[in-house]
């Protein structure tokens, strides 16, 4: 059985300089309590893998505002001028990956694949420095897997084994990241007794989850 830890205990385990995946899409489905605690504990030099950096003052944007991050791997930063400012000022390294490619790279990391071949980005700026592989006369980019030390994810429900269920568009990158990190910390809205999520409705099996915290944030 996995009993919820406090947000403070869970985040205390993350060293400065860690590579962390954070679920969510423009903050929706992001583990807000965990993010706020990263800021509160003054973590530094993080490498963050996520879809985006949300906005200034919101979700992953809070980590950017606090200068906790030295590198982000994301699909866009258009909604966060502070991310763009730090990038231009060379305070922050930004690696852009097309969104579908980013999802597959995270999945590849979690699924033990050495990479995937995608048509997305061929002959564009996104192809720079990447190997081009031909299969049956068509060209594909070889995109590499992503892994992390920690995944900070958000689920709607968890049972005490850590079986997770996500809600609507708050799912996004969360189940992929649950596979791709050494340590998985999930923030949940609701804890349920084991057996209350039917096997066919479990989105992420509990064996993948290391720590559970109850959400303290108002979404």
């Amino acid at each position: 059985m996995k009993h919820p830890l406090s947000v403070t205990e869970a985040i205390a385990l993350i060293p400065d300089g860690s590579t962390i995946m954070i679920g969510g899409f423009m903050g929706v489905g992001s583990p807000l309590s965990l993010i706020k605690e990263l800021v509160r504990q003054g973590k530094k030099s993080l490498c963050v893998i996520a879809n985006d950096t949300a906005q200034e003052g919101a979700a992953i944007g809070l980590l950017i505002d606090a200068h906790s991050v030295k590198k982000v791997i994301v699909s866009h930063i258009g909604t966060n001028p502070e991310t763009q400012r730090q990038m231009i000022a060379k305070e922050l390294e930004v690696e852009l990956s097309p969104q579908g490619t980013l999802a597959e790279r995270v999945r590849a990391g979690g699924y033990g694949l050495g990479g995937i071949l995608t048509p997305t980005g061929v002959n564009t700026l996104a192809a720079e420095g990447k190997q081009l592989v031909e299969v049956d006369g068509e060209s594909f980019l070889l995109e590499r897997p992503l892994k992390a030390d920690f995944a900070l994810i958000k689920a709607q429900q968890s049972d005490y084994y850590g079986n997770l269920k996500y809600r609507l568009t708050a799912q996004n990158f969360n189940p992929l990241m649950a596979m791709a990190a050494k340590h998985v910390i999930v923030e949940v809205e609701e804890m349920l007794p084991v057996g209350c999520i039917p096997p066919d409705d479990v989105h992420t099996p509990g064996v993948l989850v290391d720590m559970i915290v109850k959400s303290e944030a108002k979404a």
Partner: protein
């Protein structure tokens, strides 16, 4: 009728009943308003849902938004999924149409819509996958920006994908990129051919008879 409404209404006519359509954030989102509900069009948002519809005012849920982070509603029969599946639908050729905004389209039909180097680096988000993977790519954009033509001979900004887009719809014209170049198909309401040529920085193929949009 303002320019954006013209564009949205005209693009709505391109949508086939029962098809799966992705709407980019901003102007493309407006298209949904002009599609007949009885056509049962399935709207996808790439952040992970098929079946967008209805107005959420007073019924917002923090776990249900579009790719721009705006609250949405869903219709009965909707389906939610993760980002890998969402882009599997897109990249795998299951998406009948995507409607995207654009900075520029050139004579080869290449779209630029994700970066102005040295000035604005929003990132490509889902745009590269959408243009590479959708069965039909329709660009929804105003004909000019600050007086500058957006249909151009060659792109000033990096392209989004090497795939030729299928249709460009502005408030002034409907233009179909073809192997031979940009074919002018329709003129906007009240627009003249000379006006379109004047506001376009690319060579257009001009057929004998160019109808006006019927909207």
């Amino acid at each position: 009728m303002n320019g954006k409404e013209i564009i949205a209404r005209r693009i709505a006519q391109e949508i086939t009943p029962g098809s799966l359509v992705n709407l980019g954030i901003g102007l493309p989102t407006m298209v949904a308003h002009y599609v007949d509900k009885n056509d049962h069009v399935f709207f996808q948002s790439e952040n992970g849902v098929i079946g967008i519809g209805g107005f959420p005012e007073g019924m917002e849920n923090p776990s249900l938004t579009d790719a721009g982070g705006s609250f949405i509603g869903v219709l009965p029969g909707a389906a939610a999924f993760d980002s890998a599946f969402s882009f599997g639908l897109i990249r795998g050729g299951h998406l009948d149409m995507t409607i995207l905004g654009g900075l520029q389209v050139d004579e080869k039909g290449h779209l630029a819509n994700w970066i102005i180097p040295g000035k604005m680096v929003p990132g490509m988000g889902g745009a590269m996958d959408l243009v590479a993977g959708a069965k039909r790519v329709i660009v929804a954009m105003t004909h000019t920006a600050k007086g500058n033509a957006k249909v151009v001979e060659s792109l000033a900004f990096p392209m989004t994908a090497e795939r030729r887009v299928d249709l460009i719809v502005t408030e002034k014209a409907v233009i179909q990129p073809t192997e031979d170049g940009l074919l002018l198909k329709e003129l906007g309401p009240g627009c003249t051919l000379d006006e379109v040529l004047d506001l376009t920085d690319a060579t257009l193929i001009i057929p004998d008879n160019i109808p006006h949009m019927q909207i």
